[in-house]
């Protein structure tokens, strides 16, 4: 996973609320068996709207997306995160995110930044012509006009994003604790620890 310290550059001023993952990547793009190439299908329906920000050459290759409340609601498809990554987006800024989407984004090395609506409104204005700068270490979003917004992030997520750590590997290192739980459950709640396909 790619480490993230700093995301700076153009931001796509999308701003729409309740963007569900069907909008981010429609279901007919889910039929892949690898992670690459999904950027093409990202925001497919929005791209057909006249004057949309996704086909506007001004924002081509922008690493930041600004959206409205409840971004990433709906289906749990992680393809939404892969599609954003494939578009080159590594940071999404919105007033709030669906739990599933923010988890998926994190696991794929996308930073989600939650800011109050007033800050979003300001960033939407700035993004039209100017770059935005996100610093994960200091947890701040800044603009060329001295705007400065701080955001909260879970310390563990911050640590993993800053160091590009892979979550599966981190948990596998806790194999002993997992085995201990299994041993305890085998006595206390044995029915949870086996199925007809369990060997011995």
């Amino acid at each position: 996973m790619q480490a993230i310290e700093h995301v700076a550059g153009k931001a796509i001023p999308f701003g729409r609320k309740n963007v569900d993952t069907d909008v981010v990547i429609p279901a007919h793009w889910l039929k892949t068996i690898t992670r690459e190439g999904l950027g093409q299908g990202a925001f497919e329906a929005v791209k057909k709207e006249p004057g949309n920000v996704f086909t506007d050459p001004a924002y081509a290759g922008a690493p930041i997306l600004i959206a409205g409340d409840n971004f990433g609601c709906g289906s749990s498809r992680e393809h939404a995160a892969w599609a954003l990554l494939d578009m080159g987006i590594t940071c999404v800024i919105a007033p709030s995110f669906s739990d599933i989407f923010s988890g998926n984004a994190f696991k794929n090395g996308i930073l989600t930044v939650a800011l109050p609506q007033a800050a979003i409104d300001r960033l939407m204005e700035v993004a039209v012509d100017h770059p935005i700068d996100i610093d994960l270490d200091t947890q701040t979003v800044t603009t060329p006009f001295q705007d400065r917004f701080t955001f909260e992030i879970d310390p563990f997520r911050k640590h993993c994003l800053l160091n590009g750590l892979d979550e599966v590997g981190l948990t596998m290192a806790q194999g002993d604790a997992i085995a201990k739980h299994e041993a305890k459950a085998r006595t206390a709640l044995p029915f949870l620890m086996k199925t007809p396909t369990t060997v011995n």
Partner: protein, 484 residues
């Protein structure tokens, strides 16, 4: 040591904590993992690339559902028919190959046990009360109907669970949704949950796990409880729960994966201890009177856009919130609806009875009850009934329900997700309307440009008969209708 009163959620959570970090993140043990073809290929790919194995293949079950065509799977001679869509075929083939390669039991498309994961889990007794259950599909919340803590995960998490049998989670807040009173005739579990979502909104449960409480749920069948918990996610909650009780135990007992003998006794004792303690507190509570719930349909493109069937298509100005007004405008435009139109005047060209929300035997029975001795309207061009599993299909056929359905002019299909998300060939044509028993009315969900109205199986069957949205109570003498 006396324990503080705890909620059902808290008790299940406590029993599964492997480790807790300082920031409150917990490593939670996962008891059951359901795998399907859409969200697993990249997870298996990840394991393979890293040279990792599946920690507990015995607690994992793989079954294809999302992509499968619902037409015949074998020809007259018994040969398996190929799948025309190349991408679907590739995903299905990947699961068929990955599951055995990693030692996981795989149910094939041609096996009678095959079905939608969320129908198969409870039906096989693979999903158990008090268990933590995950699947790479957001409607995993469904299994909360048997008292399991169940939620959807993304592919990275699928990979994490395959490799470690655990997940990193933060405890959610708790939301109590209490429904008490007597449900009116014709009001089903689906109407209850649509009404709840209409009340709390699609963000009402964000960050929370919902516990559905009150006599309405206590008196509900397991099928009904699965329907309610299924749509918790549409209320913004990752999971929904209903305390396991005698109805649950009777349902689980004797199923292929259910515990037996001494294990059963131990299980029963523990399950009985799981109900929320008196005095336990919830972060939020919502109370709804059962008498206020009518047969309900959606008119917009968000599951919170609900109305009693007797109502009118609303106008954007009816909403106080400015952003909701804009959303309503967009959604009415997409839906091709004019404010003030009576919902019962809205014509439908398609009917879909199926999905993990409403494809269990009770749902098929409810639809057949309405269809019996009737025929679909001429303006309804496409109407399909898709059972949730091969076992539901067999049961329905044993009861002769398939004959009623076919005689009414509807098609009786093979099990799978079908037109719920239209990844297979079952799609609603652009601009056409569908009375659907599924869970999402999002833009394009049932096919590009498709217009979805969510409702119960009985209401969808009624719509098939009249060719428009219909109050099922107008079709059936009220005395014949049992609240479900």
């Amino acid at each position: 040591m006396t324990q503080n009163p705890r909620t059902l959620y808290q008790k299940i959570w406590d029993a599964h904590v492997v480790d807790q970090r300082d920031d409150g993140t917990c490593l939670i043990y996962i008891d059951r993992h359901l795998v399907h073809e859409v969200t697993s290929p990249q997870a298996f790919e990840g394991l393979r690339v890293a040279g990792r194995t599946v920690r507990r293949p015995d607690l994992t079950l793989a079954v294809p559902d999302h992509n499968l065509p619902t037409t015949a799977r074998k020809d007259a001679a018994g040969h398996v028919l190929p799948i025309a869509d190349r991408e679907s075929a590739t995903q299905l083939a990947a699961l068929r190959q990955n599951a055995p390669e990693f030692g996981i039991r795989y149910i094939d498309a041609t096996d009678v046990e095959q079905g939608i994961v969320h129908v198969v889990g409870p039906e096989q007794g693979f999903s158990l009360p008090g268990a933590t259950i995950v699947c790479g599909d957001s409607h995993t919340s469904c299994h909360g109907g048997i008292g399991a803590l169940a939620f959807g995960i993304g592919t990275s998490e699928v990979e994490h669970v395959l490799a470690t049998q655990t997940l990193l989670l933060k405890q959610s807040k708790t939301l109590e949704v209490r429904v008490e009173g007597t449900l009116g005739a014709g009001v089903t579990a689906k109407d209850v949950v649509l009404h709840i979502i209409g009340t709390i909104g699609t963000a009402g449960g964000t960050g929370h796990v919902i516990e559905f409480r009150g006599n309405v749920f206590e008196e509900m069948s397991i099928e009904g409880r699965l329907t309610v918990c299924n749509m918790s996610i549409e209320g913004g909650a990752r999971a929904g729960l209903i305390a396991p009780d005698e109805t649950t135990f009777a349902y689980v007992k004797g199923r292929p994966y259910a515990p037996t003998g001494e294990d059963w006794d131990k299980a029963l004792a523990w399950w009985k201890s799981l109900a929320t303690d008196d005095g336990a507190t919830f972060d939020k509570s919502v109370f709804i009177r059962a008498e206020d719930i009518q047969p309900t349909v959606t008119w917009g493109t968000s599951p919170e856009d609900t109305s009693a069937i007797g109502g009118l298509v609303p106008a954007p100005e009816d909403f106080a919130d400015a952003s909701k007004r804009d959303a309503v405008k967009v959604s009415l435009d997409y839906m091709g609806l004019t404010p003030g139109t009576r919902l019962t005047d809205v014509e439908v060209q398609n009917v879909f009875i199926g999905s993990c929300t409403n494809s269990r035997i009770e749902d098929i029975r409810a639809a057949a009850e309405v269809l019996k001795g009737r025929h679909k309207a001429d303006n309804v061009k496409w109407a399909i009934v898709v059972p949730g599993s091969g076992l539901v299909k067999a049961q329905a056929e044993a009861e002769g329900l398939d004959k009623i359905i076919v005689a009414a002019g509807l098609e009786w299909r093979e099990p799978g997700c079908s037109a719920c998300l239209a990844m297979n060939p079952d799609k609603v044509p652009p601009g056409e309307r569908c009375a659907s028993t599924s869970n999402r009315n999002f833009t394009g969900r049932q096919g590009p440009g498709a217009r979805t109205h969510l409702m119960s199986p009985a209401m969808a069957a009624a719509a098939a008969v009249t060719g428009r949205l219909t109050d099922v109570r107008d079709l059936t003498a009220p005395a014949d209708l049992e609240p479900a």
